[in-house]
Point group: D2
Chain length 337, copies 4
């Protein structure tokens, strides 16, 4: 249930509502960013009685929320969530272009790529220090030394850093060095990790699981929000189907579906979504055309030598060309870039 | 195997090659539209010896084709196939915008919608006279009277007609009234129908089956080509997956994949691909951005009264708005419209 | 709606009900095999009023049917449909073991295999004379000569013949020579074929499409029943999923689901369901254990030389071993064999 | 690579081989349970030279392993792995019947169910103390108090306890109270958890992810083995597909596929695999018939009051009936129970 307060509501009236909710054994979640004060109620197993709250002073309306996810739903908060990261706005008119290598392999590699993508126009840098790999014998990332390299990249280029945390234990390290914590597709339902990141002060980049429904993605976002972290960027990165011409099937129609059901920003990762560098540019253009708030793209200066996912990494000049195309496309979908 | 002939080749030399192929028990398929004469060999179960042909006069090269589909493969014919239909070009720079109702319901309905989509900028009209329906108790189409209405629509609007044939028996009727024969998703592997349409003089609009791989789609096109009909437009219309936020999952990355493997045009049907009218415009924009040769969109003047698929039919003004957006997008992907 | 008549109902009362249904513009379908007379009403788009019929003489009850399929639903007819074919009963206590090659390749091949499977214990013979093939260049079956061979096999072994019709045109030929008409997975929604076979006097073996839901399978059966042919055997033969360790994913839980929703028999084809001969026996055992009314298995005396689907054909001695295992299993699931 | 040692090999010769492997920078994994000593080499990115090892004293053969998983592959160890848990043998002739509630809800509930399933013939008890739930607002399990109840159940019934650990932090607690650590489907690729459980002295019950390929399942098992824990029971629990008549599609053909590729035991969970109690018994029978090493079944004395997954929990008398059926089936597949 969502309690919408009157415009001229007093602090005291707000406090009374919160106390009443807590007396009933539920959780009161003041909703950030609304033009007027609103309080979401969670933790109730059965629908609540709206009259119970509508008779309290300062309360304008008590609205029943019909979705299993509440805090992240459009019903709870009608305006788009815009997330500010070191001066960039994600979820507003500005497009986010997150680029960088799959994994941080060395300082030289990270700096070379960062310089190229910054020059081309990326506004975020990505790179994995902890890498979830299907095989225990594959390169698992540099760990903390990789995070340190990422922090230096930010220092030099000014680009905010997006990097993955694989478990609750590694979150503090990622928090120390990065600007956005990525939760990978395989961990979308790692609830222990979600609960820990929900307590972080950093925004989250939450990737859709390879076979997650939209409801499940939003429920995982709800885990984050229910712990207090509302700064969530969702990301479509391809789902697993029978279709075998690409590594995954990029489900672009999820973008308007998210916009319909949730106030959170949604991005697209065409690199994992296709698995082939020659498919990344057309699908990135399509992602912007369909209404995505940005893209995440893997770029490598020597993809043939990449320690992971080389075949899907763009060459730097391909990326620069793509950024130009997106710059031309952006105004057609009411975006600036 | 593909036999590429010399530039100054004589009719006689060509005939000799064809005769040699037939002597060996195979089929010779002269490839249309190539700058130079080429002859595809089909019907061989094992790879042929290229020297056998390269020693013949007039033969420039004998190229082994590595795909199971041959006549429709890029290997056989490197330039794009452009299909001319009453002055429109499909597969070239021009975008094809095919619009109309799911089913022809009456003359009034068809004319009302045709006038609106023509005015908005559609360059083809669609409408089903024979409707494949999951239930035997659903509206099955008007049959021949529906075809007659379509022919009248063409007369009045000048728009070429795309309509479905559901079986070999109905092909002659469709040929009599329409300009392009549609083969629906459920019939993509109806080989009897494919063989019959392969003998038609009309171009074909071949929809991808709901769970067809790209190879299977191209093999079905190969059935058409192997009977002599090379004027094939492919169409992505969504595949069936676990993802439940839309009726189907529109697999847009198949567009660059088709362009890579085949010389045939490929279009996108975002109406069936999403099943919801509010999703059609964003996905149609994405289809153009990803490189599609056109779109097929369902439009109805009174979707709430439509006898089939009402929820996915756009309102006429939504369609007009979409055409404007596509007009702006087209030049960014080197298209005119 | 289902009209259940009184036990002592007269012919005249039945006729009155049928006439009333037809006056209303609907179709009356007397339901075969019920202990008492019942009449299904189809063709109505909206629910009918039960009182309309319950006040007529001889009518015991008018039951609303809630499923989109009616004639094939358990609601319409609670007892199992048992189909008699040349003395064998399918759908009752007896298990049907349908065996034979994928395609009839020659008289010698067909006779050799038929003798082996008959001796091992098969009670039906299968073999394709018309073969739907993904590639136009693959062996497409012997056609009518193949049907003649099948008829001779029946003459010699006494085994009833199951063989596929690929289109409405070939149905009369199949009717001439065979005992059961198979509709293949790719044709499950070939509605023209369904309507034609619905008018046949022969029973039908209807395979589930590779991505058909259970509702769609039952709706296709409804097409057959709505034309008057109630002698329908359903068959699960594997569905298409991401799972890549077998050619298809055999969906055995569809067997109890069919039993719950429909009165029709349901069989399992573990040969297409797995695509590998070493997987056929364990899955055939599982099919019997889960409650299938029988199995369809491909057997070849020289699988390495088979013109289609060799890798999934069992060797004759493997098949004989499997029949022994099924004989031991049958009594545990209240079956005889 | 697998180094197979001579029968009369000395400790010293073994040590030399291990030292040589480590000198090369790789990891030496002595393989447990083999009739003769064998040492698996992991950590090499490229194939090794077999001669390097075959010339060393005591070495019989150096075999290249062609699969990405090594330690869990049949190539590395041809005989079946049999896991001993408090006197029960899993993976041998004995069938494992693991039964109990989805979640431990109270001491009363756990004891009531445990008594019933023990009496019916279960040989393991299951029950979740930590529950991964899609919604943050659903019952998340009792935590340590739940584990204590489970330990008491073992004390009273003698049944070994299988229960889930959701993250690395909770593993020590689970180790303290339980006999087998379950890794749930959503955590199959939670590599941090896999690495921690790989260091445990307890056997593992590893569930296949909802969209995991067989290779991915075996790679996750390889994570466990590469840390030293070879006591791994795999479990098929249904995969996610378009098929909507059951909650998941139980992929029974994975059982013979696992037996072909790996030496590990494989079980089936028909409760999650179908999501409906009336489907559990037929699919459990099918699981035994297809060659599964056991089943995991959810049983609840009051499913209508269950705090999670009530609709799939069997009633105790249904379970007792199922155990009888399995007892009859077991000898037909060379099993005792």
């Amino acid at each position: 249930m969502l309690i919408v307060m009157d415009k001229g509501v007093t602090e005291r009236e707000i406090r009374s509502v919160i106390e009443r909710i807590e007396q009933l054994g539920f959780k009161a979640n003041p909703i950030p960013g609304a033009q007027r004060v609103a309080i979401g109620i969670t933790g109730n197993q059965v629908p609540l009685d709206s009259e119970e709250f509508e008779s309290m002073p300062g309360v304008k309306e008590a609205i029943r929320v019909t979705k299993p996810y509440k805090l992240v739903s459009r019903e709870m908060k009608s305006e788009d969530t815009v997330i500010s990261v070191r001066g960039r706005q994600v979820g507003g008119r500005e497009l986010a272009i997150i680029a960088g290598p799959c994994a941080v392999e060395s300082e030289d590699q990270a700096f070379a790529i960062a310089e190229l993508v910054a020059k081309a126009g990326a506004n975020f840098f990505r790179g994995g220090a902890f890498k979830p790999r299907t095989s225990p014998y594959s390169f698992q990332g540099l760990g903390e030394p990789g995070l340190k390299i990422l922090a230096k990249v930010r220092e030099q280029t000014g680009l905010p850093i997006v990097t993955e945390a694989m478990d609750a234990e590694s979150v503090p390290l990622v928090e120390e060095y990065a600007d956005v914590i990525q939760i990978g597709a395989r961990n979308m339902q790692n609830f222990s990790l979600l609960k820990r990141v929900g307590k972080s002060r950093l925004p989250v980049f939450l990737k859709r699981g390879i076979s997650a429904t939209l409801d499940e993605l939003l429920m995982s976002a709800e885990y984050l929000a229910s712990e207090g972290n509302y700064r969530i960027m969702l990301c479509e990165r391809g789902v697993r189907t029978f279709s075998d011409h690409a590594r995954n099937t990029l489900d672009l129609s999820v973008v308007p579906a998210v916009k319909h059901l949730s106030h959170l920003p949604i991005m697209v990762d065409p690199s994992h979504g296709t698995g082939r560098r020659d498919r990344v540019a057309p699908l990135a253009r399509a992602a912007v055309a369909v209404g995505s708030d940005g893209i995440m793209v893997e770029v490598h200066d020597h993809p043939e030598r990449a320690l992971s996912d080389g075949p899907q990494a763009m060459f730097p000049d391909q990326f620069a060309e793509l950024v130009k195309e997106i710059r031309a496309l952006a105004p057609l979908v009411s975006r600036v870039f």
